[in-house]
Amino acid sequence: MTAFVSLADAIAEHVRDGQTVAMEGFTHLIPFAAGYEVIRQKRRKLTLVRMTPDLIYDQLIGMGCAERLVFSWGGNPGVGSLHRLRDAVEHGWPRPLELTEHSHAAMANAYAAGASGLPFAVLRGYVGSDLVDVNPDIATIRCPFTGERVAAVPALRPDVAIVHAQRADRAGNVLIEGIVGVQKETVLAAHRAIVTVEEIVDDLMAPSHNSVVLPSWTVDAIVEAPGGARPSYAHGYYRRDNAFYKNWDPISRDRDAFRAWMGDNVLGATAATHPAKA
């Protein structure tokens, strides 16, 4: 059942060295505050899972938290490379990073399979792609009715899912609105789930009977973390800080500039303070 806890306590209790951790949020609702706290608590040897490693994964990787990345697109959207990710892959700095690389369709289906208690997902995908040669987690199976071949990937079942949402009610039900990404699937696929929210409210005020809701008993920890998705955005609360994304490029190109920025803005901060500017 859901516990309402501080961000520091949520990470301390649920995220351990060596675990597989998925922080999701498709451009929208990226759980930055939680990622910063993982960095502050110096987790190591994590397998980080995420369709679109964003700035927060660039930072986790650059700070040496990760030993493997499971992903499908690792860039700074609309800007360019994730330079810390590149430095880890190209030069092993600060430590080597192993890659398990998928397509978006495969990752999304692998989460859905995990949420569904299935061992694998099937998709029409990867036809003719060399990804099949570099990722042993891509198999081919045959349709028992038509004989057609389709791709199969193992279900994703992270140890911990971390997502950010607009709000939770006091019973612990969580509402996600707008671009909902793969967050619901990620939470349901994971063994444990931490949700940071903009606010905790008396009434969830779901706009529709069919709104995307994570019921309380699917979430282990809820953390009130207003602004917790910045510099990404929270629909209905604040916009994407596009300037932050652009400014990150020069900071992240240089190892020293990166470390200085992390020291000033993350390591020297607490869960209550949140980097406002890059």
Binding site: V79, R86, E90, E101, Y238
Partner: protein
């Protein structure tokens, strides 16, 4: 009325926009494709349907998104669906007529690399990776490719096939069981290219104003073919340029402002 005060990138965007039709349903990527698709929507193809992989269906952004999932896309969509649904019901379900892809490397058969320069295990440059591209390339009715023309991009052999184009050419796609047309148009800042109907090797079919055959040859990493009839790409019209520049100006203002 045509104009002469335009950039090669503007020409590329305008040429791509013109290839789209009123009844197309497009899977739009960020950057150049997004500009082209929205220019089409604001000019010749107002009925066009744009989907972004973030799950936004039939979106009509007033400004161009910086990322694939800006709030603007959701606010102007008729619906926003989970990402798994977008890839399953909409892309894989065969409901997209045109998909756009960019490329770090592309070969003469439109195989695309966005994964790595150099060997996969010890990369010279690690690129962002596939994203939705392998399945976009497999599932859309046809694929339009946009890329700046240069010999480091248009290479004899890609270092890694992220997204399958026409493979070794000919009927390679259908031999792999693919039922879609695959890449049917490449739009660059120099010219338009299309695969030969039989061999599937790219050939130049239209050259932009001020560009010579030699320019194209020098900027292509293989001996590029020219179709029997090569058109002159009509330069951008005043309307096209005005609409595109308005769009970019609105976008720049919006991206500077944050709450």
């Amino acid at each position: 009325m045509t104009r002469t005060d335009y950039s090669p990138t503007e020409m590329m965007t305008v040429a791509a926009a013109r290839a789209l039709r009123h009844d197309d349903v497009c899977f739009v990527g960020i950057g150049a494709p997004s500009a082209a698709c929205n220019l089409a929507r604001l000019t010749l193809a107002p009925g066009i349907t744009l989907l972004y992989e973030s799950g936004t269906i039939a979106t009509k952004p007033d400004v161009l998104p910086l990322s694939i999932g800006d709030g603007e896309l959701c606010e102007t969509a008729i619906a926003t669906v989970p990402v798994a649904e977008m890839f399953n019901y909409w892309l894989q379900g065969g409901r997209i007529t045109v998909g756009f892809l960019g490329a770090a490397q592309i070969d003469r058969f439109c195989n695309i690399n966005t994964t790595v320069i150099g060997p996969y295990a010890s990369p010279k440059v690690r690129l962002p990776g596939s994203g939705g591209a392998p399945e976009i390339a497999n599932s859309c009715g046809q694929i339009f490719i946009m890329a700046r023309h240069g010999s480091k991009v248009f290479v004899p052999t890609v270092d890694f096939v992220t997204s399958f184009g026409h493979g070794d050419g000919g009927d390679h796609r259908s031999r792999l069981g693919l039922r879609t047309e695959g890449p049917s148009l490449v739009v660059t800042d120099l010219c338009l290219m299309k695969p030969d109907p039989e061999t599937k090797e790219l050939a130049v079919v239209s050259i932009h104003e001020g560009v010579t055959r030699t320019d194209i040859e020098e900027h292509t990493g293989w001996t590029i073919r020219f179709a029997d009839e090569v058109d002159d790409t009509p330069p951008p019209t005043s309307t096209e340029l005005d609409v595109l520049r308005d769009l970019h100006a609105r976008t720049a203002r919006a991206h500077e402002a944050t709450l």
